[in-house]
């Protein structure tokens, strides 16, 4: 992702796009998923790109009206911003579609391991992360149930003025919070009963092996990264 910000000319963007397209093809994910990933962000992309095109100065002026002007450079910059968004969204979509939340949590733990030397509670953070991820569907279900229960009692969600909507959220949020506190209390009791004392002194059930393909993909990424930085000059 950082490499994407280094790229600043046509060739470097070309190299990165080629790499990401190859990654996508290798993952075997259908293009529809990527379009779905871009969809919620499309307005943000258009807004930023337009802003870039209309307000940046420098280069040969093609058209101008009042404070707005379009120059050949601003068009190119707008195009680059568009490419940046596209590449970032695509590479994050590849990550979330190919990796389970559990593996991501374990990955975060591995990446943060050096922070242990600074007495940062990496294991505790990883445990919190994995419990949080595990409870997401549970809490979503609960929210659905509470919403339906409150609807049955005549609460109207999602219509009326802003003040109304905020008011309607209270009978949803309060039970959701108290429910979450109950979950936490029961879960901590159950964890203690199973011999949990602290997250430092534990063995790990899962082990991730560094394989040759990991080395290969890193070599490719480093090569492309170096190439992009060289092309930049």
């Amino acid at each position: 992702m950082i490499i994407i910000f280094f790229a600043n000319n046509l060739i470097s963007y070309g190299v990165l796009s080629a790499l990401i397209i190859i990654v996508i093809l290798m993952s075997g994910i259908s293009v529809a998923y990527f379009l779905k990933g871009i969809k919620p962000l499309i307005w943000l992309i258009i807004f930023t790109v337009l802003l870039q095109i209309l307000f940046s100065s420098g280069g040969h002026v093609l058209w101008h009206f009042g404070p707005f002007s379009i120059t050949n450079e601003s068009l190119v910059n707008g195009g680059f911003i568009f490419m940046r968004f596209l590449l970032i969204i695509m590479i994050s979509t590849v990550l979330t579609l190919t990796t389970t939340p559990l593996a991501i949590a374990d990955g975060v733990q591995t990446v943060l391991k050096p922070l242990k030397k600074l007495h940062f509670p990496v294991d505790t953070l990883a445990l919190m992360l994995s419990i949080a991820l595990r409870f997401v569907p549970t809490l979503m279900d609960e929210m659905e149930t509470i919403m339906n229960a409150q609807r049955a009692r005549g609460v109207d969600f999602g219509s009326g003025s802003l003040k109304h909507r905020v008011r309607a959220a209270v009978p949803l949020l309060v039970p959701l919070f108290t429910g979450a506190i109950n979950h936490a209390e029961n879960l901590s009791t159950a964890m203690e009963a199973r011999g949990f004392s602290d997250s430092e002194h534990r063995t790990k059930y899962r082990l991730y092996h560094w394989q040759t393909k990991d080395t290969i993909s890193w070599i490719i990424f480093v090569l492309v990264g170096v190439a992009v930085i060289l092309i930049r000059k």
């Binding site: 595990r134 569907p137 549970t138 879960l187 059930y205």
Partner: protein, 281 residues
């Protein structure tokens, strides 16, 4: 079979109250025999769950002493005591710590610093014994309540405890799920000669125990075999409990002039008795 001379749990004159609440237990004493299935019944707020938590050291006594398998429950022994006790709680959702089924079963082993290879073997064995091995990669959101309780039991079998405490472990399940879980615990109990304490509202669950203990407002008001306890339906009713189906049937029969010899029998006994009655006519 139950060895009545060996008390695996001794509760000696304990007193306990929750903060800013009146005394729940006042000088309560009881023993649990090694290898028995003890059912503790009582209405809500009678102190059943609190008792289970005190035994596992999850909450701290005000007064008195609890001894589990020769170990006094206190700060020094707490992890040794918990090694000997496996607890299954009421809510299947709230005791699922792991991200997937196998991670959840491994959780207790991870806490006990079991080596990874060993851990994989134990997890496989435990999940197979509860019939959930095929579900090992599932996340809890994709499991039914009964399946989650099976996983909870697997997590406990993995730690091979001497005592299993079921704290209303079947109260959120449907009748079939409840039967399956109880059958499973019964099977594990007889295979490993475990002691089971089941805390329950389910009278039929209690009817299959070796011994039943009625707790009411923190006091033991009666204890004995299911036959003894359930032959006194009035006493059960007075403290807001129901009697088992067969006991009700016996009462209904006697109202219609058919006197059954004993005031309580289990399903099979009653069926046999009725068959004899019919064939005699």
């Amino acid at each position: 079979m139950a060895d009545l001379t060996n008390n695996i749990i001794q509760v000696n004159n304990i007193s306990y109250n929750y903060p800013e609440q009146p005394l729940l237990f006042d000088q309560l004493s009881l023993n649990v025999h090694e290898g028995e299935w003890l059912a503790i019944i009582g209405q809500n707020g009678s102190g059943k769950s609190t008792l289970a938590r005190l035994i596992d050291g999850l909450i701290v006594l005000n007064q008195g002493q609890i001894v589990v398998d020769g170990l006094t429950v206190n700060d020094q022994n707490i992890y040794d005591v918990r090694n000997r006790i496996g607890m299954v709680f009421q809510n299947p959702e709230d005791q699922f710590v792991g991200a997937t089924v196998e991670d959840d079963v491994a959780f207790g082993l991870e806490n006990r610093l079991i080596e990874r290879n060993e851990m994989h073997k134990i997890v496989e064995k435990s999940l197979k014994s509860v019939g959930m091995w095929a579900f090992r990669e599932r996340i809890p959101a994709n499991l039914s309540g009964g399946q989650k309780q099976r996983v909870a039991i697997a997590g406990i079998i993995a730690l091979s405890p001497k005592i299993i405490i079921l704290d209303e472990a079947t109260s959120m399940l449907d009748p079939r799920g409840r039967k399956e879980i109880l059958k499973l615990v019964q099977q594990i109990k007889s295979q490993n000669n475990l002691t089971v304490i089941s805390i329950t509202h389910d009278i039929d669950e209690a009817a299959n125990a070796d011994r039943v203990l009625i707790l009411n407002h923190g006091k033991i008001i009666d204890e004995g075999t299911p036959q003894k306890i359930f032959s006194q339906p009035d006493q059960l009713q007075r403290i807001g409990l129901d009697s088992p189906y067969t006991a009700k049937l016996i009462t209904a029969l006697s109202k219609r002039g058919i006197t059954v010899g004993k005031p309580y029998m289990n399903d099979e006994e009653l069926i046999k008795w009725i068959q004899q009655l019919v064939s005699a006519k």
